[in-house]
Amino acid sequence: MNRTDWFPVLLSFRVAALSVVVIVALGLPLARILARRSFPGQDLLEALLTMPLVLPPTVVGFGLLLLVGKTGPVGRLLGMAGISLVFTWWAAVLAAVVVAFPLMYQSAKAAFKSVDVNLENAARTLGVGEVRIFWAVTMPLAWPGLLTGVVLSFARALGEFGATLMVAGNIPGRTQTAPLAIYYAVYAGDNGTATRLVLILTVISFLVIFLVNRWARRRNFL
């Protein structure tokens, strides 16, 4: 095992971890709001938020490229600020966030909806404020679903290939994540490298799922 073997693995986990942080920060409040309220245009917003789940990743990647590329509307704004996003590992984070977001959003919305509204109402009549209700009633009851969302979006971000390739490229030592490295190793006939990467990814992924599940089961009441 040398440095070039580890780089794609570390990059993949770094991208996936950072993506999950962003996804949770955006998805949790949004899911919470949309789970309990209705407003005009809600169906439209829901469809837009879920689109990246059903579209092929290359379509998402092409769309992102049009948006954040040097001539795209967002890309030009970033360019004026002296930032070039495309073909950096930040672009890989962006791709992973967009593609994995719907998994967190959908799980979190279902989790919040599964909390009986009367439990929150009961807490209100007991003189408790909304912040404490959220942390002491809603979150503990919704957390198995929230955890599912975190695990699913992390897994999706870790395995991201198509959209990442389009916006971050495949630059070894800079933007080459593990799925890309595996593909290009096989493509170049380097089955040894591919096998090592596959083993590392499989073992670590297994451990993550195994430990999260075990922790979840222990924390469960009854």
Binding site: N118, R124, T125, L126, G127, G129, R132, L141, F221
Partner: protein, 227 residues
């Protein structure tokens, strides 16, 4: 003293109710969908009426004209929910204590565990709601609702999950509790028997309107024999 005159527009009809209640038990009876739970939620502040006022013990809780709508956590209105809405992830004791953590009890406030003892469920403090019977849940829900020292107690279908024998005991328990607390109770049921067994005043609700009011006992009078 509870004074209510509210309107609330609902999808299929308008809830339009006028009530005056001393420290008696009001039995509110009506078919499902008559607006009973909506009325309770308006009293508790969980839903906002579209007009009128709610006054409890001299305090305005809601007034359309004055633009007042006190949030539920400041109303001191106890609410026993249908199916009790006990927090499934908290023990019986913590369910009752939950009320007090957000709202510090006065030095003479009731000890919540004493409330559980008085209701005959003091031995269940360390159990979770999933581990106790329907009758026990009902009493825990009562203890929790009373822990905030309410000035009004609302009970939404409190007997629907109980079998006949448990129900008879629960009737007696509720009457004793009402005498001890001396506050108005509003009891909602789709079952006429529950309402006639307990109500000092019985109001029948139909499509959001009061169809009939029967006074069975004036304030200060004893319960009529056989009730």
């Amino acid at each position: 003293m509870l004074e209510v005159k509210i309107q609330k527009k609902l999808p299929f009809f308008t809830l339009d109710v006028e009530l005056r209640l001393g420290n008696e038990i009001l039995g509110l009876w009506g078919a499902s969908g008559a607006g009973k739970t909506t009325l309770l939620q308006c009293l508790a502040g969980l839903q906002k009426p579209t007009g009128g006022f709610i006054r409890l013990a001299g305090r305005t809780l809601y007034s359309h004209a004055e633009g007042i709508n006190v949030p539920p956590r400041r109303r001191q209105v106890g609410y026993v929910f249908q199916d009790y809405a006990l927090f499934p992830h908290l023990t019986v004791k913590n369910n009752v204590l939950f009320a007090l953590n957000g709202n510090k009890p006065g030095p003479n406030g009731p000890d919540p565990t004493a409330l559980l003892d008085a209701l005959g469920v003091g031995h269940l403090v360390d159990r979770y709601p999933g581990q106790i019977s329907g009758g026990e849940k009902q009493r825990v829900a009562l203890a929790r609702a009373l822990a905030v020292q309410p000035r009004l107690l609302l009970l939404d279908e409190p007997f629907s999950a109980l079998d006949t024998a448990t129900k008879a005991k629960a009737f007696e328990g509720l009457k004793i509790l009402h005498e001890e607390w001396g506050i108005p109770f509003v009891l909602v049921s789709h079952d006429e028997e529950d309402v006639t067994a307990l109500g000092d005043v019985i109001v029948t609700l139909e499509k959001g309107r009061i169809r009939s009011t029967t006074v069975r006992r004036q304030p200060g009078e004893d319960h009529p024999a056989g009730s």
